[in-house]
């Protein structure tokens, strides 16, 4: 994992080096080339509602160990908060902050040997009158004490100059006695260890830089270390701090930069976790299988029935399932040699009390990834609730996750990573996800809510993958996206009966408020033998209210399903059978709607109540 991250940094982040990092700065104090302070300007997109500022890719960085070295209160070089640089805010006059301000000016004066204009800036900020001007200008623009500020001198940002690089490299070394990690290394008692990244002999970095970008999934906004051993119980064998996992300062910086870059540019937030992913070779957005998974094409689920056919056509062309299969065929046929030997890496992370938590790590071939994602959509495919011969649109990955809970906030991060693994590795759907989805389906049905395609698809995918993993291809093939009148499961046909009884009641009595579904679905899905007999009896009253042709149609439909039950409905159904019951109910419902639609188009007289 670390090795792949370091390789990513080498390939994509040529500027990755200890002592340098990317920073976002909100404010700039503008100086004329003579050194006179002119104004304060806001950086970044000032029209945006929330402007984080402008990103500078190669800024000076002082690590934790350098900041603490020598017992001197220090500040950063060239970029720091307005509180430190301009003494802005209520706590600006605290002795510790004043010491930081003094150190900031000290650094500017030291660096003026290579950037002479910094001497004037230091003088300017050292003068109480001019400092007050800066404070007033920052206050006018409503700058906050914790926002970062830098300088622009004569139209150029010193932080973007390369003139200070060598000075900064040598200055950093002086902070820890000639070595960036010398002091702590001595305390660890190890002069050299094998690096877990390269396998080479190395001096382990005592502490590791922080990963940012996980604040929205439980991480600290200041960043959290991926590798850190700051408590006794976290260390072993008498090793101190990060000597427990030897990684050089250079590699630690490289994996940090890689992870920060991936989290910022190539990651997906999935409820309580974030997935950073990358490919060994560049992949165009339209060929990116992870994006197909997380953001499939338009859905148009609630379109009117009349437009459905045309929309389905467009959907076919653009949907993710279709694109995944197309891409897979192209790779297999040798039309995409650029993708055939590509590989992917995916890292699932979340934050925990100032630490980074790795929830999953996956790697594999690109072709296998595409194949697995195509299989994911194939397994989730389910008939559209409106009937017809249309499939429901491919659900977003987040929609599949949300199918298991009432609200997205209820999703637990471990569940997210397990379902993510199911999708990327073609593994069985977790039982817990199945149980939760089934509970939500039951509630939907009882509350007469619109059936959720992702939920029904998840139930189907669960059964398909569970049966396949047991080598039971017969059951796996029997569960199609559309109604299968030949399905071998009795529970499935019990669900079908429930749907027909509900349709029969509606045809006979119209809307009666709490119908047979609301009153009997929960009991029928658990103990069908007890409930379906009662429904069979009451259906006779409903049949008597119908006209001849329709009566005949319902009678034959019911007898056809009852004949599938053989000796009768099962006494009880376990959880898996209950979900087959739900699938049978849903697919029969969609099928009834299909038939009504077709009949209506052919001859409205045979189905006078043929509305949806």
């Amino acid at each position: 994992m670390l090795k792949q991250l370091v390789e990513y940094a080498k390939d994509h982040l040529p500027g990755s080096e200890p002592g340098f990092t990317t920073k976002t700065v909100k404010w700039a104090i503008v100086f004329a080339s003579s050194g006179d302070g002119l104004s304060v300007v806001e950086l970044g997109d000032t029209t945006a509602k929330r402007n984080p500022g402008r990103e500078f890719t190669r800024c000076p960085e002082m690590g934790f160990s350098q900041m603490k070295a020598g017992g001197v209160t220090k500040s950063h070089f060239l970029i720091d908060t307005t509180e430190v640089v301009a003494l802005l805010g209520d706590k600006a006059q605290d002795p510790k902050n004043l010491a930081k301000h003094a150190y900031f000016l000290y650094l500017l004066r030291q660096a003026s040997a290579v950037l002479p204009e910094l001497e004037n800036v230091a003088d300017y900020l050292d003068d109480p009158a001019s400092l007050q001007q800066v404070q007033e200008r920052l206050a006018e623009q409503k700058a906050k004490p914790n926002e970062k500020v830098t300088f622009r001198i004569g139209g150029a940002f010193p932080v973007e100059s390369t003139a200070w690089y060598d000075w900064w490299r040598s200055f950093r070394k002086t902070l820890s006695g000639g070595s960036a990690n010398g002091a702590k290394r001595r305390s660890a008692g190890d002069s050299s260890m094998r690096s877990f990244v390269s396998g080479e002999l190395t001096s382990p970095a005592p502490t590791h830089p922080k990963i940012t970008g996980l604040a929205d999934v439980g991480g600290s906004s200041m960043g959290s270390p991926l590798i850190g051993f700051d408590k006794d119980a976290f260390t072993s064998y008498g090793l101190s701090q990060s000597a427990n996992c030897a990684v050089s300062v250079e590699d630690a910086t490289a994996y940090r930069d890689a992870l920060n870059d991936l989290l910022a540019k190539h990651s997906e937030r999935l409820a309580g976790a974030k997935v950073a992913y990358w490919f060994a070779k560049p992949v165009a957005d339209e060929d990116n299988p992870v994006q197909m998974l997380t953001n499939p094409a338009e859905n148009g689920e609630d379109s009117p029935a009349a437009k459905r056919q045309a929309q389905q056509q467009r959907r076919e062309e653009a949907n993710a399932q279709h694109r995944a299969h197309e891409l897979l065929t192209a790779i297999r046929d040798g039309e995409r040699p650029d993708l055939a030997d590509n590989r992917y890496n995916a890292l699932t992370l979340s934050g925990a009390a100032g630490r980074v938590m790795v929830r999953d790590w996956m790697e594999g071939s690109f072709a296998e990834l595409v194949e697995n994602i195509a299989a994911w959509f194939d397994d989730l495919a389910i008939v559209h609730r409106a009937g017809g011969n249309a499939l429901a649109p491919c659900p977003k990955f987040l929609a599949v996750l949300s199918a298991t809970v009432r609200e997205l906030d209820d999703l637990a991060a471990p569940m997210v990573s397990r379902v993510w693994r199911s999708a990327l590795h073609c593994e069985p759907i977790p039982r817990s996800a199945h149980a939760q989805a089934l509970a939500r389906v039951r509630l939907d049905i009882l509350n007469d809510a619109v059936p959720n395609h992702a939920r029904m698809g998840l139930l189907r995918a669960y059964h398909l993958r569970a049966h396949r993993s047991k080598g039971d291809d017969v059951m796996a093939q029997a569960l199609k996206p559309y109604l299968n009148e030949e399905h071998p499961s009795l529970a499935y046909h019990c669900g079908r009966l429930m749907a027909v009884y509900a349709a029969l009641q509606h045809a006979a009595l119209g809307d009666v408020g709490a119908g047979v579904v609301q009153r009997y679905y929960a009991a029928a899905s658990a103990t069908p033998a007890l409930v379906l007999g009662r429904l069979a009896r009451s259906s006779q009253f409903h049949l008597n209210k119908l006209e001849g042709g329709l009566t005949y149609w319902y009678e034959s439909a019911l007898s056809q399903i009852w004949s599938r039950l053989g000796d009768g409905a099962p006494r009880t159904l376990d959880l898996e059978e209950q979900s087959l019951f739900a699938l049978g109910y849903y697919q029969q419902l969609a099928d009834l709607r299909t038939k009504k639609t077709d009949d209506k188009a052919a001859d409205t007289t045979t189905n006078p109540k043929g509305d949806d």
Partner: protein, 263 residues
């Protein structure tokens, strides 16, 4: 004549072979490490010595075969280990050393308890008390381990007898302490595999696992109970579900010179 290759089939519900880089929020290697496998053999039979002078042999793991948990289960397109997320409240401090406990017992020092359920407001420091930590453990693991006994100098002529004793113990299910998969709370169950016995085929798994921990101690010489850590690594590659483990003395194992051994 006892076989040189001592084969054990081991299995357990849970396992955590913690990656050193992710040992705080624990994340397991996808397969057992040679040092964890050595620990299983040691749990069944070892002849250590407190000062290392009379230690008789060490175990050399030669191969690890990854077996399917359920041989009836149809594998997916390619095997991948199954993980489970566990979260537990743990203390931030270490248990006291033997010397400290002796001082407490003799009354020379006031005992310092570890508060298992205290926070900063009670203890005045963030470095003590409890914290919640995650473990990404492996679920349903089954391996066929291959190892050889390597007698230390002076004990070569006892190899046959030592091997026979190991086979007797392992064949009867005896162990010095319960073998475990990486952490003591994840017990490993074992069975001696007789030569020529037909077994389940390894899973279909090819992969480059990168630099993996080989062992924490120097295995080139007998050590003592207080030997310092000398971490060694090797390039772990799986071919058809089999991890070939190089000999500790080979160049394929990256070591740091100047260590002290482990008996």
């Amino acid at each position: 004549m006892t076989p040189k290759d001592q084969v054990l089939e081991v299995w357990g519900d849970l396992a955590c072979f913690t990656r050193p880089e992710l040992k705080v929020e624990r994340f397991s290697y996808p397969i057992i490490t040679p040092s964890a496998a050595r620990g299983i053999y040691d749990a069944i039979y070892c002849k250590p010595n407190r000062y290392g002078r009379e230690a008789e042999f060490r175990w050399q793991i030669t191969a690890v075969e990854v077996l399917p948990w359920d041989s009836q289960e149809k594998p997916h397109s390619s095997f991948s280990p199954s993980y489970i997320a566990l979260r537990r409240n743990e203390v931030k401090e270490k248990g006291p050393s033997d010397r400290t406990v002796a001082q407490w017992a003799s009354g020379r020092e006031e005992p310092q308890p570890i508060f298992a359920d205290a926070d900063k407001s009670f203890l005045g420091t963030d470095a003590k008390g409890r914290t919640q930590r995650q473990t990404m453990a492996l679920r349903h693991v089954r391996y066929r381990l291959h190892a050889e006994m390597r007698p230390w100098p002076g004990f070569e002529e006892r190899q046959q007898a030592l091997e026979a004793q190991f086979r007797r113990r392992a064949g009867h299910g005896k162990c010095i302490y319960q073998p475990y998969f990486g952490c003591r709370e994840f017990p490993a169950y074992f069975e001696l595999v007789e030569p020529g016995a037909e077994g389940v085929s390894p899973v279909d798994w090819d992969g480059d696992l990168g630099w993996m921990l080989y062992d924490v101690f120097d295995l080139s010489r007998p050590g003592t109970w207080e030997s310092p850590a000398r971490i060694s690594l090797f390039d772990a590659r799986l071919s058809s579900g089999v991890l070939q483990v190089p000999d500790y003395d080979s160049a394929a194992v990256l070591k740091v010179e100047g260590g002290e051994g482990r008996c």
